[in-house]
Subunit: 460 residues, 2 copies
C-alpha cells in the first residue's frame, strides 16, 4: 500500500522521531514541483517541493527506473507524482530521501521558465508576480503572511473580541486627506446619477465605523484592506494594503498601550513557533539577526514617554539632525529612531502629542494643547503602531471638527455615538504589511504583498 | 477587593458550576449599557449588557443606594460602571443577579435614543446602522459573523492551507460581466493619465490570482471583499460582500466536493459549539427549527447528481414549473429546490453542467459538451457553493477563451500558469454573507452585513 503524504508530514514525522510510523510506511507517494533535477546518466537527484513545507525533499532515481530517460529530462518547474521508498539518511545533508520506484509527469514546464536555479533580483521577480511565490524568499514571506494573519485572529478572538467587516466603499472622504480612490460606474463624474447617488470612495480606515461596534460589543477589531491614492513611490507605501484596527470600550490610553504591547509580543511568539523554518531563512538570508531582534522586543518592557519629554531630549542631544527639533513639530524618522535606539534602546510609546499634528477624533488632554495619542516606536524601523483614546465628549468633538472646518453632514452618525451611551474608549491601527516587514527585515512593501498595487503598476 | 468581570465570565462561571470561585468573589464590578431600567421608587431593576455575552445580567438596586434618585433616571442606552454583590438566584428567570452597592454613569444617553424597548422593523433598523448592533437580532448576527469567520480560518489553517490576500483593485474586467466598479482618481475617464495608467476595477473574484498561489503552496484560500455594480435590489444581492475562495492543486472535482462538504459541516458544528446562545435566539425568534435544519445537513451524506440526470428528473416531474426545463438551460431556483427538497431531500451536488452556461476556466469534460463544475444545493435555499475543476490544458483554455471572444492580453499570466508546471487543480467560491443567512434564516443580506452597500444606499 502506498500512502499519499505531504513533505511537511514527512519532516514532522522524522523530526518528532516517530519511527514506528516510519517503519509501517516504507513506501510513500508525493506530489509536487521539481526545483532542480540533475543526473549522471546512471543516477539522478531531484529536489522536490510540494508547497506544504519550506524545505525540499530529495528524490533519488536510478537507471533501472523504467522511464529513466524521460525523468532525466523533467525540467525545473514541472509537476510530478512520485512513488518511492522512504529512507532515513542521518549522515546526509537532509534527514531522509526517497528512492524513486515510479514517477509520472503531471504538468510539464516550458523551457523558457523564468525561475531557473539562480539568484534573481527582487525587482525582476516583481515582474513575474504570478510565479514568484515559488522562489524561496517569496515562498517564505507568503506563508509567513498567512501565519501572521492567523496570529492576529487568534490573539483577538481568544480574548472575546468581535471581528467586524467594516465597509470598503464609503461616503466619508476619510480625514479630509483627499488622497482617495473613487468607486464609480460613470465616465463623467456625474455622481448624482452614479451607482450610490453620491460620490463614493475606497476606505482609508475602518476606525470610525468600528467605533459604532465597540459601543455594542465592547472589544472589536477589523482586519481588511485599505487604500491610499498617494502618488509616492517609496518602499513603505502601497496603494492597497491590509490594516488591523482594534477598538476597546471602557478603556483609556493605558489600556490601549497594554493591548498593543500584548499583541506585538503575541505575534512574535506565534511566528517563531509556527513558522520556524521561514524565520530561520529570513534570519540567515534577508536580515541577519532578525530572530534575536524580535525576540529582544518580545522580552522587553515597552517604555512610555511623553512627546514633550522626547522633544526636550532631542533638543539636548549631542547629534546634528537634518531637521531641527521644536515643540509642535511632527517628529521625523531620524528623531524617532534616536529616541528609540539611542535613548531607550528598546520599544517605546510616545504619548500626548500636540493636537495640531494629530487626527480630529483623538481625545483632548486637560492641558488643551495635547491629545491622548500613542505611537509605538521600535528599533530599526521607527513607528509601528499608532493609536489614541477617542474623544467621547460630544461638545469637544464638535468644536474640534469646527476648528478643522470639517463637513459634519456625513459624520453626524459618528458624532451621535457620543450622545447615545458613548463611553471612554480607545483603539489603534496597525499596518499589517509593515508588521510583516518588521518581522522579516524585508525592505520593500512590494515584496510582502501577493500582487502589490503602486502608481502606474497594475500588471496582474 | 472588587474585581472587574465581564458578563460572559459570570455566566460561564455559573454554568460550569465553579462555586469555589464564586465564593471568593462575592463582590464584582461590571461595565456596560443599560437595556432597561424600571423602579418602584423603593426598588429598581436594570437589565445590563456589556457586549461580551448575548444575555443580560440583572442589577437590583434599593432605596438605600446613595444616588438612588439619579440611578432611577438612568435611561436605556446609558453606559455605567456598577459594583455589587453577586447572588445566585436558582429559582429566578436568570441564574444570578447583582445587588448594586455603587453605580456610576459613564456616558449618558439622550432621550431621543432611537432604540427604545419595543420591537423595531428591520427596515427601520437599517436606517440606524450605527446603532443596530445593540438590538438583539443584530447583536446576535454580528457576533455570529465573527464566530463564523474564525470557523473558516481554523478549518483551512488546521489543514495547512495558506491564506492569500488577493488584490482588490484589478486590471482584469472579471469574466467580462461588465458590472464592475471602477477605481479612479479622475473625473474625465482619461485612464491613461489615471493612477495606474490604465482602467482599474474592483475585483469580482480572487480566483484567478489565487490559482497562481495554488501552484506554489498546493492548498490555499482567500477570504476578503468582492464587489458587483449590479443595479438590482434583491434580498440576496449586495454591492459589497465577503467571499471565500479555496483552491487546491493535484485535485479533481471529487476532491473539491469532499472539501466543500467538510467545510460546510465544520462550520455548522463550530457555530453550534461557539455561539449557542445566538443560535438559540435565531432558532426561536427568526427561523423556527433552524438548528434542526443545519444539524440535519451536518449529519447528511451530500449526494451527487449530474446536471443531465437532474434535467431528466425535472422533465419527468409531476410539477408545473414557471420556467420550462430543457437540457442546456441555466436551472432556476424552483428547479434547484425541487431536486434538493423533493427528490433528494437533503444536500446535493449537481455536477457536469453544459459548458455554455459556465465560466471559461472550468475544465471541459471528455464529452466536449459539459464542464467539471459542481454546485452545492441545500434545502431551503438552493445554491450555496459553486466550484469546478479548472482547465489545466493550455490549448483547451486558449480555445475556450477564443470561442468566447475574450481579450487575452490581460490574462496571459493566468494562461501561462498552464505552461509552467500547471497541474490538475480545483476550487470553489462561497459567499460568506449567504452562508451566514443560511445558518440563521435571516432573509435579507442587508441584515447580515455591518454597513451594507446597495444601489443608491451609502448613508454611513
Amino acid at each position: 500500500m502506498f500512502e499519499f503524504m505531504t513533505v511537511r508530514e514527512l519532516y514532522e514525522m522524522v523530526m518528532s522521531g516517530s519511527h514506528v510510523e516510519l517503519d509501517t510506511m516504507e513506501y510513500v507517494q508525493l506530489q509536487g514541483w521539481i526545483r532542480t533535477n540533475r543526473s549522471s546518466g546512471k543516477l539522478g537527484f531531484i529536489e522536490l517541493n510540494d508547497g506544504t513545507y519550506f524545505r525540499n525533499v530529495q528524490l533519488v532515481y536510478v537507471h533501472e527506473l523504467k522511464n529513466f530517460g524521460e525523468v532525466e529530462k523533467y525540467p525545473t518547474g514541472a509537476a510530478v507524482t512520485v512513488t518511492g521508498r522512504f529512507k532515513l539518511t542521518p549522515e546526509g545533508k537532509q534527514p531522509f530521501e526517497i528512492a524513486v520506484t515510479e514517477m509520472v509527469l503531471e504538468g510539464d514546464c516550458d523551457r523558457d521558465y523564468p525561475l531557473q536555479k539562480k539568484r534573481h533580483s527582487f525587482e525582476y521577480l516583481r515582474e513575474i508576480a504570478h510565479l514568484r511565490p515559488r522562489a524561496n524568499t517569496f515562498y517564505a514571506i507568503f506563508r509567513l503572511r498567512s501565519v501572521l494573519s492567523m496570529a492576529i485572529h487568534e490573539f483577538f478572538q481568544d480574548q472575546g473580541f468581535v471581528y467586524v467587516h467594516t465597509p470598503i466603499i464609503t461616503g466619508n472622504d476619510g480625514e479630509g486627506a483627499g488622497e482617495m480612490f473613487k468607486a464609480t460606474i460613470r465616465d463623467d463624474a456625474n455622481y448624482e446619477e452614479d451607482f450610490f447617488g453620491k460620490e463614493a470612495f475606497l476606505t482609508v480606515t475602518g476606525q470610525l465605523h468600528v467605533e459604532a461596534f465597540a459601543m455594542a460589543f465592547r472589544d472589536v477589531y477589523t482586519f481588511g484592506p485599505a487604500f491610499r491614492a498617494e502618488n509616492s513611490n517609496t518602499s513603505r507605501h502601497a496603494s492597497e494594503f491590509w490594516m488591523i484596527e482594534p477598538e476597546i470600550a471602557f478603556a483609556d490610553l493605558d489600556d490601549n498601550m497594554n493591548l498593543i504591547e500584548d499583541m506585538v509580543k503575541y505575534c512574535i511568539t506565534y511566528v517563531l513557533e509556527n513558522a520556524p523554518e521561514e524565520m530561520k531563512f529570513f534570519n540567515s538570508m534577508i536580515d541577519k539577526g532578525c530572530i534575536e531582534r524580535i525576540t529582544k522586543v518580545r522580552d522587553s518592557e515597552f517604555k512610555r514617554m511623553t512627546y514633550t519629554e522626547a522633544v526636550e531630549l532631542l533638543e539636548k542631544a549631542d547629534v546634528k539632525f537634518e531637521n531641527k527639533v521644536f515643540w509642535g513639530m511632527d517628529l521625523n524618522s531620524e528623531h524617532e529612531r534616536y529616541i528609540c535606539e539611542q535613548v531607550v534602546n528598546g520599544p517605546v510609546f510616545l504619548i500626548d502629542y500636540p493636537k495640531e499634528i494629530k487626527a480630529f477624533y483623538m481625545r483632548v488632554n486637560d492641558d488643551n494643547k495635547t491629545v491622548a495619542a500613542c505611537d509605538l516606536l521600535v528599533p530599526g524601523v521607527g513607528e509601528l503602531v499608532g493609536g489614541s483614546q477617542r474623544e467621547e465628549r460630544y461638545d469637544v468633538l464638535d468644536q474640534r471638527m469646527s476648528e478643522l472646518n470639517m463637513g459634519k453632514e456625513n459624520l453626524q452618525w459618528y458624532m451621535d455615538l457620543r450622545r447615545y451611551g458613548g463611553c471612554k474608549h480607545a483603539g489603534f491601527g496597525l499596518g499589517f504589511d509593515r508588521l510583516l516587514m518588521y518581522m522579516t527585515g524585508m525592505q520593500n512593501i512590494r515584496d510582502v504583498e501577493p500582487f502589490p498595487r503602486t502608481p502606474r503598476n497594475l500588471e496582474f
